[in-house]
Amino acid sequence: MNDQSPYVLDVDEISIAFGGLKAVQSFSMRIPRQGLYGLIGPNGAGKTTCFNLLTGVYRPDKGSVRVDGEPLTGLKPHQIAAKGLSRTFQNIRLFGELSVLDNVKLGSHLRGSHSLGGTVLRSAGYIGQERAIEDRAMDLLSIFNLAGRAQEQAKNLPYGDQRRLEIARALATEPKVLLLDEPAAGMNPQEKIELRTLIRQVRERFKVAILLIEHDMGVVMNLCEHITVLNFGETIARGTPEAVQNDPKVVEAYLGTE
């Protein structure tokens, strides 16, 4: 743990190209502790690719990512999760056949140790850990108002609940930085307002920094302290919501030129 670094997430000039397509070019971003940052851009700008680069799904061709001062270069996705970077997915990726509770329990997986012998023999340590995992998962579910549906199969939840369950599952990994990929997608206006409150609560309660990709300008402009705008893989603007809204390049990217 490096407490000297004021930034919990430090992305330095990462780039990736798929063949000739430069999907992300020299993307940089620094998020302070408990920062609430946004990443926006038109469709195909490279936002989700950025998330995939941060979480190790793709390896950047150049550049480096640090979480709490620790470099993530060359690590596999599960090791990056252990370093404290957790995410949700644009097209919800829950473990559909498993129960809501088991989904959240899986989030705690990387914080425990799981020896085969202990599991098969049901050692005291194994049982204690299993109880702890269950307690923590139930606590998280209560916070997200999902405790009543703990035993249901995740695929049977309504859409909004599935989005919230994904956030709960990501928080169970005890992250330092939470990456949310279009959390408001498919929600109605009322749900979007609730989501804004929820995201703020999550930041206070779990002391995480949050980076979110979002198309809904109401959510982003209201919520985020700092916004980065991508277009065709390049960073075209960054700053406070007001500054970004008035940036001519951003207006051009979204609305085109006259």
Binding site: R93, T119, G128, E152, T173
Partner: protein
């Protein structure tokens, strides 16, 4: 939030409580196996007990394959190959071990292993039994080792590619075993005493098979291993390791993002499944007193895959039931008993299940009723016309499988266990211990 490890420590039960949890599966296993061997065994025909034996071995194979194909969703097609590895290792240790240690390859066990005619005078467990059980466990370990060697590089592959690699592994094992030198026959046991261990253990009989092994496998040993396999698999399924297995099947990318080391858990599942398959191989070899790699090719692997798929991918009780049904069915079709009682039982069971769940669906009931009627009429026509159904049993068997897959593609129980189907809305909350 405090750390998970600290919280776990405060919630751990006292250390000694591991003892009962460790011992009860063994006690239950010995009791059930003893009942089957000494209470049921003497009252059934030799044929029935043989079918029960084979069913038991098939249960171990199907349940262990469930760990790979059902839990982690990886498609292994070489399960019989691991059975062959374990079977040959156990056979060679038991056979040449008997010769080196006891001077002959004859049976040297006690009452639990006695399969010959007449009453047996001697101890309950003999020195030969210990050699046999030890060899089965070593066979399991050898198969697990093979599983590790095959699994580590190949489990990075997905879907079809993994299936092809495992299929290839099974065939390589078969070909290698068929290329081994002739065995030293029991009546030449004296010659074997001069041959060094490492040479002796490889004389596996090649294409003729490894024959005239002492037979130790009885209902007792088979069902002891069946109970242990079932308990271990069930404990695995309801554990953090089991959840990691299932998460890989559900969504590999999400599993990685949640911190599950996907390759490691795939290898883990593979190694475990191979271990049980290897032990089953040992039981199989010392049941018939011979093992032939030619019988353990890919067709055998497919038999086990059919059991797993039919039972429901991921369901331990489903795989068990399917293994039993698919072992008995071809035998039943030899001399077909009336079908309508089975149909009635099935209908009653389905009706009871629907009532418990509180939702009525008529269509499956009608399908079963009509199917039973059609089959029963067909059977009576055949009997009246003097047609021998046994000649067509493999066609019947295949058609039954096709009907099953069309009417219930998720298998008998899907991913759930039999008893969970009767609860409302899924399984009951599991509280750590089992």
């Amino acid at each position: 939030m405090s750390r998970l490890v600290d919280q776990a420590r405060s919630l751990s039960p006292a250390g000694w409580t591991v003892l009962p949890r460790l011992l009860w599966p063994l006690v239950v296993g010995v009791v059930i196996a003893g009942l089957i061997q000494f209470v049921i065994g003497p009252n059934i025909s030799g044929f029935t007990s043989k079918v029960m034996l084979v069913a038991g071995i098939n249960i171990i194979m199907a349940v262990s394959l469930t760990v790979v194909n059902g839990f982690t969703g990886q498609f292994s097609m070489g399960h019989a190959g691991f059975m062959a590895v374990g079977g040959y290792v156990a056979a060679t240790i038991t056979y040449y071990g008997s010769i080196k240690l006891f001077g002959t390859a004859d049976f040297a066990g006690g009452t639990v292993s006695w399969t010959g005619a007449g009453a047996f005078e001697g101890p309950i467990v003999g020195k030969g039994d210990l050699l046999f059980i030890g060899s089965c466990i070593v066979g399991g370990l050898a198969a697990a080792g093979a599983g590790y060697i095959v699994g580590l590089p190949s489990l990075r592959l997905r879907g079809d590619y993994l299936a092809i690699v495992t299929l290839g592994f099974g065939e390589i094992v078969r070909v290698l075993l068929q290329g081994t030198p002739d065995q030293i026959q029991p009546w030449k046991a004296k010659e074997a005493l001069d041959v060094p261990w490492y040479e002796l253990l490889l004389k596996l009989g090649g294409p003729k098979g490894f024959n005239l092994l002492p037979t130790y496998t009885t209902l007792f040993w088979v069902y002891l291993f069946v109970v242990l396999t079932l308990i271990v698999s069930y404990r695995l399924k309801n554990s953090s390791t089991g959840r990691a297995f299932l998460s890989i099947r559900e969504d590999e990318i999400a599993a990685q993002a949640m911190g599950v080391d996907v390759t490691r858990y795939k290898v883990r599942a593979f190694v475990l499944a191979s271990f049980f398959a290897g032990m089953a191989g040992g039981l199989y070899a010392m049941d018939i007193g011979a093992i032939n790699a030619g019988d353990l090719g890919f067709q055998r692997s497919f038999d086990f895959i059919i059991m797993v798929v039919l039972g429901g991918l991921g369901s331990i009780s489903g795989a068990t039931l399917a293994a039993v049904i698919l072992t008995i069915l071809p035998e039943l079709l030899r001399d077909l008993p009336p079908i309508w009682p089975a149909g009635l039982v099935l209908l009653a069971g389905m009706a009871a299940a629907q009532k418990l769940r509180g939702q009525w669906r008529l269509r499956p009931l009608i399908v079963v009723a009509v199917l039973t009627a059609v089959l029963e009429i067909a059977r009576r026509v055949c009997v009246a016309k003097g047609i021998n159904i046994a000649d067509y049993r493999l066609i019947l068997y295949a058609s039954l499988l096709i009907v099953m897959m069309l009417s219930r593609p998720q298998g008998l129980f899907g991913v759930r266990e039999a008893w969970e189907l009767f609860g409302r809305g899924g399984k009951k909350p599991a509280k750590g211990a089992a």
